[in-house]
């Protein structure tokens, strides 16, 4: 197991180097620079532009800027945002809990509905219920997030008035940010009604963000279950006279979960990408919107630092999934 873990960790090194190179090059490959965009229609003289770029250190040769970036990473310093003038890491740490809270809620919804729905569809293969579930999943998978979010807002917040339109908590509540997770902070604040307000604000964005992963997980669970249900050991279990619940729960599901766990791990990347749109619609102060704004302003250090941190999180989640995978399936570990 240790060798397996070390091997997986070793693989992270080239991935890390690749990520730093791509995140560094990506933003610099885009035409336009921060000085030009800051000046807008008003314009900037070439001398003034050179002055601003040199203040920011963007006049140095690329290799030197890259080395500065790498040395910074090892010292925990990702630089300072050209726009907000705050350290990139501080900004990320302020905004990331909002994205994480939303993503966690979304993945909980996706898993807790997607897996049972997939199992049910597999067991009732070919039935109307199966077709309905898979049809709904296909619709969910193809849903344009922006339109879907707006539709839910108009219906549930506008017409029915059940949920708030946007934001993380009612503006009435104002307490110190301790963990950055609104559900936890609202409880810590001790203010009456704060937790409920935070929950109500989470409902629509979580549903919107969960939609695509839910559809993927349901479809993946169904096909994995179908494959497993046809295996000899399941037939044997049935022949032994085990009740269907035990056959499915104990024998089939455990084996079918292996590819599903991988799918869930991969969905983390999808969640973070979907967060950009979801955060914009629901005015959710997370890292998705922050990164997009920074790209359009050519805030180089935020983009390269933010991408690196997000990539780091995805790499970490995938490492955990790999290890879990190894635990569930000894064949992987021993190969």
């Amino acid at each position: 197991m240790l060798r397996f873990l070390l091997g997986r960790l070793g693989l992270l090194i080239p991935t890390f180097i690749g990520v730093t190179l791509v995140s560094f090059a990506f933003i610099r490959l885009l035409p336009g620079d921060p000085a030009e965009l800051l000046a807008g229609e008003r314009g900037i003289t070439p001398e003034r532009r050179a002055e601003v770029l040199s203040q920011l250190g963007f006049d140095k040769p690329y290799w030197q800027q890259y080395l500065d970036y790498i040395f910074g990473i090892f010292q925990g310093d990702l630089g300072i945002s050209f726009v907000s003038k705050k350290p990139v890491l501080d900004e990320f740490m302020t905004l990331f809990p909002a994205t994480a809270e939303l993503a966690i809620c979304a993945i909980i919804i996706a898993v807790s509905i997607g897996i049972p729905a997939g199992i049910f569809a597999a067991v009732k293969r070919g039935s109307i219920a199966d077709q309905a579930i898979m049809g709904t999943a296909l619709v969910g998978y193809s849903m344009p997030i922006f339109w879907w979010g707006l539709l839910l807002i108009i219906f549930f917040s506008g017409i029915l008035g059940w949920t708030p339109v946007s934001g993380r908590i009612s503006l009435m509540f104002f307490f110190p940010q301790v963990t950055g997770f609104m559900l936890i902070d609202s409880l810590l604040s001790g203010e009456k009604g704060a937790f409920l307000s935070a929950v109500r604000h989470l409902i629509l964005p979580s549903i919107v963000l969960a939609t695509i992963p839910l559809a993927v997980i349901a479809r993946q669970t169904r096909s994995a279950m179908l494959e497993v249900l046809g295996e000899d050991y399941v037939r044997t279990a049935r022949a032994k006279g085990l009740p269907p619940r035990a056959v499915i729960g104990l024998h089939a599901l455990r084996n079918a979960l292996i590819p599903v766990v991988t799918t869930i791990g991969l969905q983390v990347g999808v969640l973070l990408a979907g967060a950009i749109l979801t955060e914009t619609i629901f005015s959710w102060p997370g890292i998705g919107k922050w990164l997009v704004d920074s790209i359009s302003r050519r805030d180089y250090l935020v983009v390269q630092g933010g991408l690196l941190l997000i990539a780091g999180i995805i790499m970490l989640v995938n490492l955990v999934v790999d290890v879990l995978y190894g635990l569930i399936n000894p064949r992987i570990r021993h190969n």
């Binding site: 885009l30 035409p31 336009g32 620079d33 921060p34 000085a35 030009e36 965009l37 800051l38 000046a39 807008g40 229609e41 008003r42 314009g43 900037i44 003289t45 003034r48 601003v52 203040q55 920011l56 300072i80 050209f82 726009v83 907000s84 003038k85 705050k86 350290p87 501080d90 900004e91 740490m93 302020t94 905004l95 909002a98 707006l150 807002i153 108009i154 917040s157 506008g158 008035g161 708030p164 339109v165 946007s166 934001g167 993380r168 503006l171 104002f174 307490f175 110190p176 940010q177 301790v178 914009t280 619609i281 629901f282 005015s283 102060p285 997370g286 919107k289 922050w290 704004d293 050519r298």
Partner: protein, 534 residues
Amino acid sequence: MNFQKTLKATLLGASLAVIAATGASAKTLVYCSEGSPEGFDTALYTAGTTFDASSKPLYNRLVEFKRGTTEVLPGLAESWEVSEDGLEYTFNLRKGVKFHTTSFFTPTRDFNADDVVFSFERQLKKDHPWHEYTPGTAWEYFNGMSMPDLIKEIVKVDDHTVKFVLNRPEAPMIANLAMDFASVVSAEYAAQLEAAGTKEQLNQQPVGTGPFAFVGYQKDAVIRYGAHADYWNGKEKIDNLIFAITPDAAVRLQKLKAGECHVMPYPAPADIADIREDSNLTLMEQQGLNVGYLAYNTKVAPFDKKEVRKALNHAINKQAILDAVFQGSGQAAKNPIPPTMWSYNDAIEDDGYNPELAKEMLAAAGVSDLSMKIWAMPVQRPYNPNARRMAEVIQADFANVGVNVEIVSYEWGEYLSRSKDENRDGAVLLGWTGDNGDPDNFLAVLLGCDGVGGSNRAQWCNDDFEALIQKAKTVTDKAERTKLYEEAQVVFKEEAPWATIAHSVVFMPMSSKVTGYVMDPLGGHWFDGVDIAN
């Protein structure tokens, strides 16, 4: 981590301040703003969203625009005198003006000349200890308005008198000083931050003299302000002002309808009719102080001939553009300055839509089989909500008179930079939003000879026009300046370096409970003087 401690301290102090103001009768106004401020030290930035959240609620300037106009009134300066030669501006400062007392700063003195000198010298002097106080401190607006060339020195005459000495006479100087970058910050607070080694806090925890004091900012989510109890112009009627940052226009409208906010900017044009019908909402509208135009390159044949430019102007159906692109929120432009600006020459007749005349004029100028490029901006701007669509309408209009158009576009930064090139191939769609309500800010910046190869996208340098606008810069008498600008507009129309397209109309929906809101022709959002019914 340091940021967490700071944040906690701010929020804790802030919550106390808010609790203090949340008595039974406390009034809170929520503004669904369209974006996040970049920071709170106004002079570092150029974006209207940042100004709305910083300079307008938090700070004052020596002079201020009268609410809803571009007329300049006394602000932190009670009065001022201009020397005969127009080179010295002496400001007599208001006494007894208090800076905000917040959880992070308690002022020990009133506003005085040191604050004015500090606020400007940090932008002007390259060796000033605050000139580069955070990375990439560009002072872009100050530089963009050519202040470093214009201001020779700023002298503190006594505690309540400050003198600005200029290198050359500049009639728009007073209007310039009402602009956001000229906001006055506290020198005492800055000294305190410098001593503590936390200069960057000036941009994160601001202190000003304005109608509202800073309470707290949760990045990309909420900004809170409390009314400044000792405001020199009287305490505001609302106790708390909250900016709920809501980037999507449709969501802003839903929040307004649901009562989650009281005022919202920038509604989607498609929603205007719906807002008008809602009896709980009020829709204010105002002509924006802007112009959208198509700039020919007057240095490149055949656009160096004014007959060709005129002919093409006659080929453009502006009404079709207003319908297709502005969807009713625009007005056809005939002059390079908007109708709400003083010196607008209404006697000028526009080059009317007349494709037949256009064809004749092109033939007379010896132009046939003309192919040209039209540049369409990749972004939505107040003066042009959809440049691509606009370019397509013009493409069709030009095709009617036998001119073949290829539409080109670049990424925004690249677009701005490439369109300045004197040898540029093609006519460029662009526009301008006024900074200070002075015609010089349009005519000299966009059409003056100094702007060729820069902000003068038509690369047009006309001796008659230049003489008029240069003279208007040095004259202080407004009536005389008006005449000069009116004449300059006649020359412009004659020469047609641009096809003037449209001025946009700006809409502002709000709850009908809100009273006293006045729209700013310069596009800002102000909440002083605003009240809300409980």
